[in-house]
Symmetry: C2
Subunit: 793 residues, 2 copies
């Protein structure tokens, strides 16, 4: 490890080198001490077992490298007056980022009880990975962070999300060589083909090769440097390599590399902004190769530690019990010469702080990492201008997502100068019928264009890449830095980001409890091309389970909406786009769907989240005999068709039709802020009458939400039960027993005391299902009576 | 598109060129016709609307490229006598792969009603994307396939999985340029650092750049060729480029490229096998750049189609209604000159079949794509040799996964010559305490090695890469080609592969219904480092929801086990490793855990899946007053601690302790093959007594499984409710109300008619919780009474 490039381009003065090294040593000291100490923070007395925490938790290995990056970012931010944000990819770098925030003062400003003195230093150490304290990873609790370092792989996509539409911002992104092996990270490199040098900020990837993961070498550290260089050039970058293990040499090389990279970025942006950005930029990046656990114990118990995977977590595990380890820890900590770095009161000396920028330029104090401070209300036009007219329910058809597309186009138009709204999707915007937005903004694209292309736009705000991971990561980064957006996705394939949304929900839940974090715009999903209308793509494209996944998570954060038609979709979209700090899942169809509610009715219905559709039922005051409930566009249509059959054939049966838009309404009030009281629930569903519930997804979800209700034992739910294939739309519902005929049979089977007429109707329904099976085999299409059905009550 | 490389290396004779082109044209004809025709398959009469299917579904765009690859693979397989398999990444390439299978005869052998004549051709066309027919994607129904082309991104990992431990096999893998944008695919390229040229087969990636996705250009097709070349070299490959749109030129270039690639592969393998494989191989690959929808309509309604995204699906959509489209379709189909390709009976002529290999060398007939034909029972040693001795329950501690590690080592040892077992994991094998396996096999690694490394092995069968996607993809490919394996993963992060396991479950569910597909070994997960013992890593590492996700899917396929100790884990592991065609999820701890059952008891308990632990309860014949139920290691410990408290303080309360290992036992018999009858369920849990159920994961899962039971209204479940943080193990259960004290309080709150003594005990319990809170704040450790607890009844 002796090769060093770029050491000559920038010449650090001895003074600069000394102060940078002082800052780095201070950060290293603080990072190591957080893992071990709960007392004697300045080592003013010899280290004794009682100074050591009872449980030693944390990750040393990555910390010195992160500290180096932080130190050098400080230098260039200050020297160049940059507006910068850093995304710290190496997951467990908590000790480092906390150390740096404390050094620069942003930590004490955020948490006034952790003062920048010896008392605060002791608190900083003690709270780390301590019950009730702070996590060992970079997390919402960490000032200056928009990226949780727990589950790996998303740093680079987050960085690009932060840079979009932030032309003045530099987003540095440290990528660990472990994280670099993940799929989401591996494809996020291609984000550079979507970054506009004119309207967006810059991303500076810093690939940190410390060579090891928990227990293995990393792939990228073990291929020849020329091969790695080719890979990164193939990703579209111009890599600058910094390699070494001698601190002074590496300081010089890193300073030179950063200056070089920032000069290139500045030139690229200036050129593009002068000429309008007509050429793709090959952005610089840095490859930083330093030893894992650098400056830590070289050997422990005869085994090499620094520079190996053994430095990953706690290099000296037995400190409290093993005097030799304790002595070694003390030597290690004293090797940073804390007495030179902190004054008697524990305050960092001037040399240590020489590189630190001021105020909001500090990485721990930038408002971009607390996006709620920057977010503005989205301009959303009056929905009446987009609503479809509904004179009579169930007689006209619209494609709900296409109607929504017009609203999104208007939002795109109204944010043209603000540039704080993005639509993301995996190559499905048009497939999902949202292409109207192209009228206001094209698709971001910096790579080659051909005459045959349509809607590609160097400055576009529609983002399409065939990677749900990248879409999700971009949007998260964009939202957490104070902007707005919508992710449209095929319903089945949104499971690809299950784990990512999980982490985002955890982030929001934690952030909501931190008074200093201001609310950010919600993460909004539009799931379409859904299970019931993937009849042509078949079984692999059919999965409504994302709702189940999300509803397992923190109820403060999650919301699920299933608007049954175009106007309710508009109302729901309006609501979710205005909301803050939620993850909203909206499931809606793109195929022609009956219009049930006028815009005013839709607004009122969505505000309630669930309600009786009087016009569809046959109640005459009093309690109904049966409740037909539905959630989702296709189930709603089938329930109404069933209601129509019942009205025609059993006119004296008192049927109530209930439509549910907001699934969390079904939960008890104590379990979710939107939950109904039992009084409300019984008022809608009754406490003792049969409820036939046609639900969009897995039927047991409704049971899981409603199992505490008095009427639960009378609840019978139909939904998707993995009976999928390539077939017709109506055959999909028949195969899953969600069809109108089966629903009528369910009513007859469950309402007590029905007369002979009901038995005849039941037979009629069974016959209709038989007829369906025969017809579809012969014709490959749906029964004409189904294909031509409309509401006619 | 005129650049062609490698056209000179291999000189195809005119005769070869003519027959290859005939095969290609035949496949193109059959692919296009599947999308459109339901009659008049040979175009023996002019095309009329009634020959056209009522719904036009399918994907033309990728088909001609896939047909080209198939044709040329046929040639080299035949010429070189190769044992080959092809993974068809471009998802919607169904028409192509079906066409080729029909041509070579494997389709008719698999589906005898689809004969290789005009009647069979008509069936082939009609069934495609038709209700009750076959999917439009490559799917389990497709002969020769191990890869569902629905959700994109997994082809390359599947290909490597198939190649591992198959030294005689060539696995070609066609990667679409859309798919190439996904994260899983982007990192799967690095699989080449894990492929052993000695013990494994070869993978030949064929990156097919047809330039467009559904509605957008692809990234890789729009970067300069030199940049793409650098990327692929950076991935460790030697790319061979084939580019063109003139069929004859491309035939020549493709033949040359394939010969070149296969020569290089043969040389690399021969060299490695002679010298023992001491150097890393830079494997060749092919970049094939041909137009999307090549040979299809150039223009439709004045818009360019061939060579654009408009060719993605159905290039001529209005054929039934629009006479001009119908005419254009007829011209298109006749352009392949079907009359030269098929005889009067619809049989392919000799020229068409000239390139097709024989018997099981045909891509549609290889046994490697029907792995159940090849799979052998795994040798699993007698568990008694690995069991921990249990004289008395709850007095000794073992780390369950470490005990399992010994068994896995033995399996590794016993498969040393067969090489049909692999352990995969994202850099967590040692972290998950399974490192004993290294005694029998090191970790596969072909990249650079340093002296400090441990257990890296060019021929190892433990696979570790920091990509859950790659782990999952490798294992799927390995299993579907007839081998065995286990995926060990942190519980929280297995959500990363939610969508992949989804697709694998769908694959198995479909495959199980196909009589010609023989059962393969199950996909087994060992989820450890679980929610209750991620106290140190904190909230981001806590998520038990994978079980919920999996239990939504086809019950024929999914199984979930929560063994409570080391011996039960052994028993469960033995069972799942012997099983076929399932996805088994096993959740078990790696931290020291009480041993409850001897090996014999464990076997009996696991065979039942759920049972009463007599020794832990206080029943005296008769019905219990309360049932304490548990599933999972930590909940089991808390339930037993609660049982001990009740026994001590309320000795006359009749407590029954029930432990559940197999979660699907809770389901009704009609819903899952393992489900209990109501009689069985009531026998365990009673129909009317309070049940306090301590469950490992989200509590509502138990309700979702048991809501139909008579006793459901008396069921009270405790589990993880997202109250996570960085803390101690016991604090985790306290925060989620799963602790022993809370469980005792739950009993007291729910058993009617308890005396004053119970009220006093309740207060004692509440006090203990208060004491816990104070202690942990002061000491950062758990209460001594909890830390030192053991079963002492």
């Amino acid at each position: 490890m002796s090769k060093v490039e770029h050491q000559d381009a920038t010449v650090l003065s001895d003074d600069e080198l000394r102060t940078l090294d002082a800052h780095w040593r201070a950060a290293n000291y603080l990072a190591a001490a957080q893992i071990y100490l709960m007392a004697n923070p300045l080592l003013t007395e010899p280290l004794r077992p009682e100074h050591i925490k009872p449980r030693l938790l944390g990750h040393w290995g990555t910390s010195p490298g992160l500290n180096l990056v932080h130190t050098h970012l400080n230098r260039v931010i200050k020297a160049r007056g940059l507006d910068a944000l850093c995304v710290w990819g190496p997951g467990h770098g908590g000790p480092s980022v906390l150390a740096n925030s404390w050094l620069e003062g942003s930590y004490s400003e955020t948490y006034p009880d952790v003062t920048r003195d010896v008392a605060g230093m002791e608190r900083l150490f003690r709270q780390f990975s301590f019950p009730g304290g702070v996590p060992s990873h970079v997390a919402p609790e960490t000032p200056g962070s928009i990226h949780e370092g727990g589950e790996l792989g998303y740093s680079l996509a987050h960085a690009y999300g932060a840079a979009f539409d932030n032309p003045g911002l530099l987003v540095a992104c440290v990528i660990g060589d472990g994280e670099a092996e993940t799929g989401p990270l591996a494809t996020a490199w291609h984000s550079n083909k979507f970054l506009d040098p004119v309207q967006d900020g810059a991303v500076l990837p810093i690939l940190h090769l410390n060579g090891y993961k928990i227990a293995n070498p990393t792939v990228l550290a073990r291929v020849p440097e020329a091969e790695l260089d080719a890979l990164l050039r193939g990703y579209g970058h111009e890599p600058i390599h910094v390699t070494g293990d001698d601190p002074a040499q590496v300081h010089r090389a890193m300073a030179a590399a950063l200056d070089d990279a920032l000069d290139r970025i500045a030139l690229a942006q200036r050129t593009a902004r002068e000429d309008g950005g007509t050429r793709r930029v090959h952005w610089p990046m840095i490859v930083l190769r330093t030893p894992k656990g650098w400056t830590g114990p070289a050997e422990v118990d005869g085994e090499p530690v620094a520079g190996t995977w053994r430095a990953h977590q706690v290099p000296l595990p037995g400190v409290r019990e093993n005097p030799a380890h304790l002595r070694q820890l003390e030597e290690w900590l004293r090797s940073y010469r804390p007495e030179e770095l902190f004054d008697q009161d524990g305050r960092p000396v001037a040399d240590v702080l020489a590189c630190v920028p001021d105020g909001s330029r500090r990485l721990g104090a930038t408002a971009h990492a607390n996006g709620g401070l920057l977010v503005r209300d989205l301009p959303i036009a009056d929905l009446d201008g987009f609503a479809v007219p509904v004179e009579k329910p169930g007689t006209t058809l619209h494609e709900p997502t296409r109607v929504l597309g017009d609203l999104l186009e208007q939002i795109m138009r109204d944010t043209r100068s603000r540039r704080d709204f993005r639509l993301v999707g995996p190559d499905e915007t048009a497939s999902n019928r949202l292409q109207a937005v192209y009228g206001a903004s094209g698709k971001a694209w910096q790579a080659e264009r051909l005459p045959v292309d349509e809607h590609l736009d160097r400055h576009g705000r529609v983002l399409e890449i065939l990677s749900e991971h990248t879409c999700q990561g971009w949007l998260e980064g964009y939202l957490l830095t104070g902007r707005h957006g919508l992710f449209s996705c095929y319903e089945a394939f949104v499971h690809i980001v299950d784990s990512m949304v999980n982490q985002h929900i955890k982030w929001l839940r934690t952030a909501r409890r931190l008074p200093w974090r201001a609310p950010v715009a919600s993460l909004n999903y539009l799931l379409t091309s859904h299970v019931w209308r993937q009849d042509h793509n078949g079984f692999s494209h059919q999965d409504p389970g994302f709702v189940d996944h999300v509803l397992n998570k923190s109820p403060e954060v999650v919301r699920v909406y299933l608007p049954p038609d175009a106007n309710t979709l508009l109302s729901v979209a309006d609501h979710v786009l205005r909301s803050r700090d939620y993850v909203n899942v909206v499931v809606a169809g793109k195929q022609p769907c009956f219009d049930w509610l006028s815009m005013d009715q839709a607004r009122a219905h969505c505000a309630r989240g669930a309600g009786i559709w009087d016009w569809a039922g046959t109640e005459n005051g009093g309690e109904p005999d049966v409740v037909l409930a539905c959630a989702g566009d296709v189930p709603t249509q089938e329930i109404l068709a069933a209601a129509q059959l019942l009205r025609r054939h059993l006119p004296r049966l008192a049927v109530r039709v209930v439509n549910v838009v907001d699934m969390t309404r079904l939960l008890p009030r104590e379990e979710h802020p939107h939950g109904m009281t039992d009084f409300e629930y019984d008022g809608l569903f009754t406490a003792d009458k049969p409820v036939i519930f046609a639900y969009h997804g897995y039927p047991w979800l409704v049971h899981r939400l409603a199992y505490r209700r008095a009427g639960h034992r009378h609840l019978h739910v139909r939904g998707y039960k993995e009976a999928g294939t390539t077939t017709t739309p109506f055959d999909m519902v028949v195969r899953n027993d969600l069809d109108r005929y089966r629903l009528v049979m369910d009513v007859i089977d469950r309402v007590p005391g029905l007369a002979v007429r009901a038995a005849a109707l039941r037979q009629l329904m069974a016959d209709a299902r038989t007829r369906h099976h025969a017809w579809i085999r012969a014709h490959g299409t749906d029964l004409p009576e189904v294909a031509d059905w409309s509401w006619n009550a």
